[in-house]
């Protein structure tokens, strides 16, 4: 049997999403500063040298030390950490990327060499190198750093919008994909914004003075200009994402909208602080404010990455590979033989192997995106039905492509991990309240009143007999609909709840 699922699974207690976010968000927050900060340094140095502004030059020298310690050390190594972590969390996805983009990464590496050499020479060169040569090195740094963004932007955007590559397999189709240019401008804006925020943090340590006023205002302008470019180009970026992708994401999950809202809130926060303490009260730009604005900037970036990741669900490479590393190209194979015969690494516990391969990338049993609350008090049949129809449920999840037998094995595995008491006991509920819980658990994953796949029009206003009839034929109502397998107590409570809705009860 051909082995297509080539990797073991790192069954770490922490959610993969959290682990990835820790490394990725920290890295991008520094790496974008590494680019914008490079531009800031040379532009500010040019102006300072023209005006023979020694105070400003001293500040820039201090900033460049901070810059090197943050970007060359922390930025570079957290960049490497992303390699390490994606290889652990999604080796199959990483393998796809590396085979398609190895020369892209190799090109980025050449820019990285220039960038790091230039950063070191620039930092150590303040007292040693002539002004002209120092600035030349500064410009070389910035150009190399921005070009490395140019390259990595092509790879990152490919994962969300692979564009024509899906048909052609051509490198250039994958690189210059539908969101490439908008993302490049967006990320350039972020670089400028972060240059301002980091420079403000360093400036915040200065005592209130005329110089601090000038400095803080100057830095705030960088932050504001960057923020404006970022938010405008974000609209372009969102518009460049194909409708099919956006619609699928927004229909099935609140996350994209929530993350956009968060971005707007954080943008408003950053803008308020920059205008108030950056432009109007620059002398009062205290370190606490500087740290606060940095936290807002980090939160903004986290929200943006959250948006990008949520829109891309359920894929790691859109339309090509699911987030759990299952490649669509082998869908027929898995549907015919199941996952197990195609796994290179098995533990002897098939249920656990199927759980890890299918669910564990995004779910734990009780921690991150837990499954226990979803399945507590239910039964194997219901769990099996949920597995089979998981791709039509809310949350934008990948289809389970395994065989019927594997569905049963996985359902049994999950059933053994959940609370087997009756729902009424687990939640201490009865009557309509219990019925609501039954609805949330058994119907809610796919039908939300007033929300995702709303069925209130056909559900509200029936009589007890009609509800009973409907529950009896639930599995005939749709291909992915599971049978109603709750007991009589659950059935009665559910009908009581649904009946209460037609009498003005709240869903």
């Amino acid at each position: 049997m051909e082995i297509t699922l080539n990797y073991p699974f790192w069954d770490v207690g922490i959610g993969y999403g959290v682990l990835m976010a820790i490394f990725a968000v920290t890295h991008v927050f520094v790496s974008h500063f590494a680019i914008g900060g490079g531009l800031y340094l040379v532009v500010a140095e040019t102006a300072a040298r023209r005006k023979n502004d020694t105070e400003r030059l001293n500040f820039l020298q201090q900033l460049s030390k901070f810059f090197v310690l943050v970007t060359v050390v922390f930025g570079a190594l957290t960049g490497v950490s992303i390699w390490f972590v994606i290889g652990l969390l999604n080796p199959a996805g990483t393998e796809v990327l590396i085979h398609n983009f190895v020369w892209g990464w190799a090109i980025e590496w050449t820019f990285f060499i220039i960038e790091l050499c230039a950063a070191i020479l620039y930092f150590y060169g303040w007292q040693k190198i002539s002004a002209r040569n120092h600035l030349t090195i500064g410009w070389i740094y910035f150009i190399a750093a921005w070009l490395s963004l140019f390259i990595i932007n092509g790879i990152v955007t490919f994962m969300l919008t692979p564009g024509k590559w899906i048909e052609t397999g051509n490198f250039w189709d994958s690189f210059f994909n539908p969101t490439f240019w908008s993302s490049l401008v967006l990320r350039t804006g972020i670089c400028l914004m972060l240059a301002g925020l980091y420079a403000l943090l360093v400036a915040s340590r200065y005592k209130a003075s005329d110089f601090k006023r000038r400095l803080v205002r100057y830095n705030a302008v960088w932050g504001i200009v960057g923020l404006v470019i970022t938010m405008l180009s974000f609209l372009w970026y969102v518009g460049a994402i194909p409708d099919t992708i956006m619609t699928a994401a927004i229909d099935k999950m609140p996350t994209p909208i929530l993350s956009i809202r968060a971005m707007y809130v954080y943008s408003g926060g950053i803008a308020t602080f920059l205008i108030l303490f950056g432009l109007i009260l620059p002398r009062a730009y205290h370190t606490v404010i500087g740290i606060g604005v940095m936290i807002l900037g980090l939160a903004w970036f986290g929200s943006f990455e959250w948006f990008r990741e949520s829109v891309r669900k359920p894929y790691v490479i859109y339309g090509y590979m699911y987030a759990n590393g299952i490649d669509i190209a082998h869908a027929d194979l898995y549907q015919r033989d199941g996952y197990l015969p195609h796994m290179a690494f098995r533990t002897g516990d098939d249920g656990a192997d199927l759980f890890r391969r299918s669910c564990r990338s995004c779910h734990t049993m009780s921690g991150y995106h837990p499954l226990r609350p979803i399945f507590d008090g239910t039964d194997k049949e219901f769990i099996a039905g949920m597995i089979k129809g998981v791709h039509v449920a809310k949350g934008n999840m990948p289809q389970f492509l395994g065989t019927e037998g594997e569905v049963r094995i996985l359902a049994a595995y999950l059933y053994n991990k959940v609370d087997h008491r009756h729902l009424s006991k687990i939640y201490s509920l009865s009557g309509a309240a219990l019925g609501r819980k039954v609805y949330d658990i058994r119907c809610g994953p796919c039908h939300i009143f007033g929300g995702f796949n709303d069925k209130s029009a056909s559900l509200i206003g029936l009589n007890d007999q009609e509800y009973n009839d409907m529950l009896n034929i639930a599995d005939d109502l749709g291909e992915e609909m599971p049978a109603f397998t709750g007991d009589e107590v659950e059935r009665k409570a559910l009908i009581e709840y649904l009946t209460s809705l037609s009498k003005g009860g709240t869903p």
């Binding site: 080539n6 990797y7 073991p8 699974f9 790192w10 069954d11 770490v12 207690g13 310690l69 050390v73 922390f74 570079a76 190594l77 957290t78 490497v80 390699w83 390490f84 972590v85 290889g87 652990l88 080796p91 990483t94 393998e95 590396i98 085979h99 398609n100 190895v102 020369w103 990464w105 190799a106 090109i107 590496w109 050449t110 990285f112 060499i113 220039i114 790091l116 050499c117 230039a118 070191i120 020479l121 060169g125 040693k128 190198i129 002539s130 040569n133 090195i137 070389i140 052609t168 397999g169 490198f171 250039w172 090509y320 669509i328 190209a329 869908a331 290179a344 690494f345 533990t347 890890r356």
Partner: protein, 346 residues
């Protein structure tokens, strides 16, 4: 479903292998400067250790050497992942926590090296502590690397480990198969570190002598340990002796001895080049050992080749541009420093 296949190499295997080996050699050269340098500076018989100009020079250079080690380590890791992703990732996954911790340790080490580098006269006493912490970090990183990459050559063992535990808390349990490999790498670093101390201290008799001692003694011990490692190859030893690797071994030994000879006659350029060729030989031997371990299980030559020549050409151009840009910046740096000296003298 008719989707693009990713099971291909975007250039002929030999191109990728050459790039992998050359960049790995450069990575090892930088790493040897760094790790070997730290060990020699910490344990070499210097009088007034922290005031010795060569030691000071090294301490200033350590953060830059760390930067070079990391930067030059990215490319070989990239090419390794391209050709051996299934072996490398699988081994990394079963050692997941140890593997991931490498980055955290490297960040700490980097900052300690900067702390040593920024130390002023008044805080020199801390340098020993900073460098010792860095050394502990190097030991950790190098050991986990040895464990992981030796495990990558044993897919059967990875599978066995995975059936018992999936939490990523396992290093390669067959310590005997790689402990000498790891030791050989550390001792090799000390040897090359001795060369660099002698090179940078060529006009400083004390530093030159310290470097010479480490270079000579390090090489003897490294060769003995390397020989010992060969005997741990067990079932592939015979194949190894019949493979081209054995010729690379001969050349590497000859080059190492030649490097030693020219170091003693103070012809550092020739000695350095021979040392570099010897390093290239060593990484090539590592490559052959990997192939022999994986023989019958995995053959990288089985990959389909779908060259991306246009991107590859762009990479080569960028690589040349990078070399020119670095050379140009170093020139700007030196010209400016020379001009400053001239101004001071006049």
């Amino acid at each position: 479903m008719n989707l693009p296949d990713y099971n291909f190499l975007p250039a002929p295997l030999w191109v990728i292998t050459v790039l992998h080996l050359v960049t790995l050699m450069l990575h090892f050269a930088a790493m040897n400067f760094l790790v070997g340098g730290v060990i020699v500076i910490l344990f070499g018989k210097f009088k007034n250790r922290w005031n010795d100009p060569t030691a000071q020079k090294f301490i200033k250079l350590f953060p830059i050497a760390m930067m070079a080690t990391i930067t030059l380590g990215i490319a070989p890791l990239l090419f390794l992942q391209l050709v051996y992703p299934r072996q490398a990732y699988a081994a990394a996954i079963v050692s997941g926590w140890f593997w991931l911790l490498i980055v955290v340790v490297a960040i700490i080490v980097y900052y300690f090296l900067y702390a040593a580098s920024f130390s002023q006269d008044s805080s020199r006493r801390w340098i020993a502590l900073y460098l010792s912490v860095a050394l502990v970090g190097f030991v950790y990183i190098s050991y986990v690397y040895s464990s992981t990459f030796s495990l990558a050559e044993r897919p059967d063992l990875v599978k066995l480990i995975y059936t018992h535990t999936q939490s990523g808390f396992t290093l390669n349990p067959d310590v005997g198969s790689y402990i000498l490999r790891w030791l050989h790498m550390i001792l090799g670093a000390i040897t090359v570190g001795g060369f660099f101390v002698g090179l940078l201290g060529m006009n400083n008799p004390q530093a030159y002598n310290v470097g010479k001692q480490f270079f000579l003694n390090g090489m003897i011990v490294t060769m003995l340990v390397g020989l010992g490692y060969l005997f741990t190859l067990d079932e592939i030893l015979l194949s190894f002796m019949r493979s081209p690797a054995v010729w690379f071994l001969m050349v590497s030994i000859a080059m190492s001895l030649g490097a030693l000879r020219f170091f003693f006659t103070r012809r550092f350029a020739v000695s350095g080049i021979m040392l570099l060729v010897s390093l290239l030989g060593m990484v090539t031997i590592r490559h052959y050992v990997r192939l022999l371990h994986l023989e019958g299980v995995y053959d990288p030559a089985a990959y389909a080749i779908k060259p991306q020549w246009s991107v590859f050409a762009l990479f080569l151009n960028c690589f040349v541009i990078a070399i020119v840009a670095v050379w140009y910046m170093l020139r700007l740096n030196h010209h400016s420093i020379d001009a400053a000296h001239d101004r001071l003298e006049s």
